[in-house]
Amino acid sequence: MKLIELSSINQYYGQMQVLSNISLSLEEGEVLGLFGHNGAGKTTCMKLVLGLLKPTEGSVSVFGGLPTEAQRRRALGYLPENVTFYPQLTGLETLRHFARIKGASLSQVEELLDKVGLAHASQRRVKTYSKGMRQRLGLAQALLGQPRLLLLDEPTVGLDPIATQELYQLIDSLRCQGTGIILCSHVLPGVEAYIDRAAILSHGQLQAVGTLAQLAEQVGLPAWIRVKITEPQKWHDHLSGLGHQVRLLPGRELEVAAPNGDKISLLRTLLHEGVSDVEIHRPTLDDLYRHYVICAANTGGSL
């Protein structure tokens, strides 16, 4: 079942168009990464899904209906990009308050505080929390009531590396239970392994949606094969002669671009010679992101 279906959304703030012709969907148990520069429209997309904004044009359906329905909201978790909560309440009181409003069981509260690593600070006022602690509280809040749809707006902001890793693992385990997740982030390295599909937004336009492999294929960014080889100079000249993109690296290493389809045959050729080490660098999310955002900027993608 489709958890989210955005179709042909055009969104305006006053006279300014911030989203144009956005169509996106999310399945159960799917993690969609939403990426884009500052002001690209990521948060706006989330607000549309949450029913906080009404689409100027186009339609939004969440769990097959309007997102404003109380029953649907109960099954939805949201981590906003900046929330300071109530400074005078303790972490525990804050979470209890939100649990009551959501109709989630109060026994879940301490469990969640433990899960996000705030158990030791649950009796302290939120006023005294560090940025990362507040972010963790926000996460715990989003997880109240075991949502089937989770919207995380820059969840890793302020988290330390270990907490970030734990968050990714949590996302993974939620996905396995069938939760659909949209994740906005500016931190691309590390997130690749945990998303099923990526959507890249630039100036309110969707530049690309798909699995990383699909995107890489679309773009035609080559993989790079890096080998340690006995006669790098000779091979450099040879491969360049054949029209390959080759780079000489220090330490008798050689890097060859392998566009789609070329990878195996190139590897075969290279492995026949005195190769002592091989690494393959597939285009990273970072590479893809750069490509799409720069392309969009060059073709005057601004609204």
């Binding site: 909201r73 939805l76 906003p80 929330v83 009551r100």
Partner: protein
């Protein structure tokens, strides 16, 4: 249910930051002071009469109750917005109307309790300490006073929500709240007096007293002063009140209409607020 959860947080906030305690104490001390020293200017110290006490208390409450209500509630919407919790709450199974009613219920209870505890304890002290005071008159006039002061406070709470839902920043809401207080407590009566003076004969005299109904603080004062003493000397715009062909019930109803209209306005402006 959700209304109660929001209300409950407001009430526990009111207990936590000692608002309830502070307002109750303030009311009790002022009320007791007025009861015992209110007639000091007339050369006597000590309790003079229930009517005089209620009249002075009503003047005091006219200033104080709106101010306290506005202070209590001016940041309830814009403050949540600044902390990001308004955005968050609206993604919960909670309508904007429910949020508003929850806030109103919470603040309303605090204000009602403070009024009851503060003025009620003053009434109790009078009843216990003043020899041969007419207990029935005391009870009736204080019940009326406390109820109407609470209702007046609620009207101003609702006005505070209107401001808070309209304002983009907390400081704007604070400024607007002071403005509202100024208009209803000070400016309105002066303007009405000016109107009386300059419009001699031009305005239908039968219409003028109704103008008082446009100020909830005037309705409140009428309710308490008229209810007491037929020959109480009414000053300023209150002299108009004696010509108002509205009984007590009409005055109560007017205050409630004020409350309903202001709550509706608050709901409307909260609905219209962009998140």
């Amino acid at each position: 249910m959700n209304i109660w959860h929001i209300a409950r947080k407001e009430i526990s906030d009111g207990l936590r930051n000692r608002w309830l305690l502070a307002i109750s104490l303030l009311f009790a001390i002022l009320a007791a002071g007025i009861a015992w020293f209110g007639s000091a200017t007339a050369g006597q110290v000590g309790f003079s009469s229930i009517a005089a006490t209620i009249a002075s208390l009503a003047s005091l409450a006219t200033f104080l109750v709106p101010l306290i209500a506005l202070l209590l509630a001016y940041d309830s919407i814009v403050g949540e917005d600044e902390g990001g919790t308004l955005l968050l709450l609206l993604t919960y199974p909670l309508g904007r109307g429910q949020l508003l009613l929850g806030k109103f219920a919470g603040h309303g209870v605090i204000l009602a309790l403070a009024t009851l505890l503060g003025f009620g304890s003053a009434a109790l002290a009078i009843g216990l300490l003043v020899p041969d005071v007419d207990l029935q008159v005391l009870l009736v006039s204080f019940v009326r006073f406390i109820l109407s002061a609470t209702l007046l406070g609620w009207v101003f709470l609702a006005m505070a929500y209107v401001l808070s839902a309209l304002a983009r920043e907390k400081s704007t809401a604070a400024g607007l709240a002071l403005g509202v207080w100024f208009v209803f407590v000070l400016v309105f009566d002066l303007a009405l007096l000016a109107l009386l003076v300059f419009s001699q004969g031009k305005l239908s005299p039968a219409l003028l007293p109704y103008l008082l109904l446009f100020n909830p603080t005037d309705i409140f004062r009428q309710l308490n002063i008229m209810g007491l003493d037929e020959n109480a000397s009414l000053e300023g715009v209150m002299s108009l009140a004696s010509e108002l062909p509205l009984g007590n019930a009409g005055l109560w109803l007017s205050l409630m209409i004020w409350l309903g209209v202001m709550l509706a306005a608050a709901h409307f402006s909260l609905k219209a607020r962009k998140i």
